[in-house]
Subunit: 224 residues, 2 copies
Amino acid sequence: MDIPSGSPTKKRISESTIHRLSRYFRTLSLLEKENFETVSSKELAKREKLTPAQVRKDLSFFGSFGTRGLGYPVAELKAKVSRILGIDRIWRVALIGVGNIGSAMVSYKEFIKQGFHIVKLFDNDQRKIGSNHKGIIVSDIKNLRTELQDDRIEMVIVAVPATVAQYIVDVVVKAEVKAILNFAPINLKVPPGVHVRNENMAMELEYLSFAMVNHHSPKGIGKA
Amino acid sequence: MDIPSGSPTKKRISESTIHRLSRYFRTLSLLEKENFETVSSKELAKREKLTPAQVRKDLSFFGSFGTRGLGYPVAELKAKVSRILGIDRIWRVALIGVGNIGSAMVSYKEFIKQGFHIVKLFDNDQRKIGSNHKGIIVSDIKNLRTELQDDRIEMVIVAVPATVAQYIVDVVVKAEVKAILNFAPINLKVPPGVHVRNENMAMELEYLSFAMVNHHSPKGIGKA
DNA sequence: TGTTAATTGTGAAGCATTTCACATGAGTAT
DNA sequence: ATACTCATGTGAAATGCTTCACAATTAACA
């Protein structure tokens, strides 16, 4: 339906392409608010600091969504991209660990905007269990496995200390959750078929640090 | 001492290599705690789910740190990597926007561990200005430019609403700060020579979403 | 209705990154 | 000493990603 039919060989789509699709989605939402009817690959590229060819190639992996001479219909393309990313629906998400980062994530607007609904919170701290965060009552982590299953949770966000993250994830895996966003700074072990993405804010600061000490100009050719 | 001298052609180092160096650094810290004297590219690769060749190639861009037949000396390699990344020193960081994410970042352990010291906080909310977060008094954002300069801030973390992020960043740029970690979901415009990295947690959830709807798991999660 | 201008979609070329494969050097044991 | 083993460092091959360049297609307008 969305992918050109008669293509039996599912090409591997690169991680970079998917990340760019996320960015296109965000920009398309903005363009929609700005009342653009259509947008060219040129304009989209300009806003994302990419080449027009890159934009067209990314989209072409999934179909032909534009009109030659005109560009892409904004609303329609946005719908297609959200379909491709799988965010044309609601995902039921649980957050494990209501500490500093966890609390921030409960209120993180970008999640809700894109269909990620945090519907359960877990913690092991008696002072937090039973308390209310943005309308959600914190559950005891003792019941993690059963509650994840009973509530048909599809994704979890792990925001617990590194020391217990693997233990928690083992339980999450037993509850047959197949997608994990991990904030703990460790390499989690999961069986095949379970997807893990790591979020580590220090890595981006480290990149900045590297860039600064090497005097790389962001655009350009190395050394000043 | 660090980079092979007499190499006039500074090869461009890829973003992936830098990110992997961050990961090596973290793993080397762990290995050090586990009392490993040396580590082979094979072992490092296993822990990071990479190939040994990848590890060796990454390191080889910066010098020869290993001993044939033996591997790499853990403590020494860790020191070299931290030198390469520029985290063998303290960076003076300011955090702008003490909201949900901002507050979480003040307490984020990975920053301190790697030399990123948040020494200033800014907000525009009168109720927050003057309050104390982990020993730091929140400053009025009105004084942003002068205080950034007076306190010799080298990096800023922008955790303000998207609507005001560009305005804030313009001030930050005027204060001659050259490195920005941006949590606002917009594409910031900065002049050449200013480094920006974006952090958007929703993007990783979107990647998970994509992975789930495309790549069915081996055991088959019943989705049609 | 024909001509012009715009912009897509896409093979192919051009780069960049990863992996291979092996010579090389270091340590160890006899 | 010599032989043997291990694991690095690195050109070269393989793979993957981005950009180019242009035919194809559409809208606008005379």
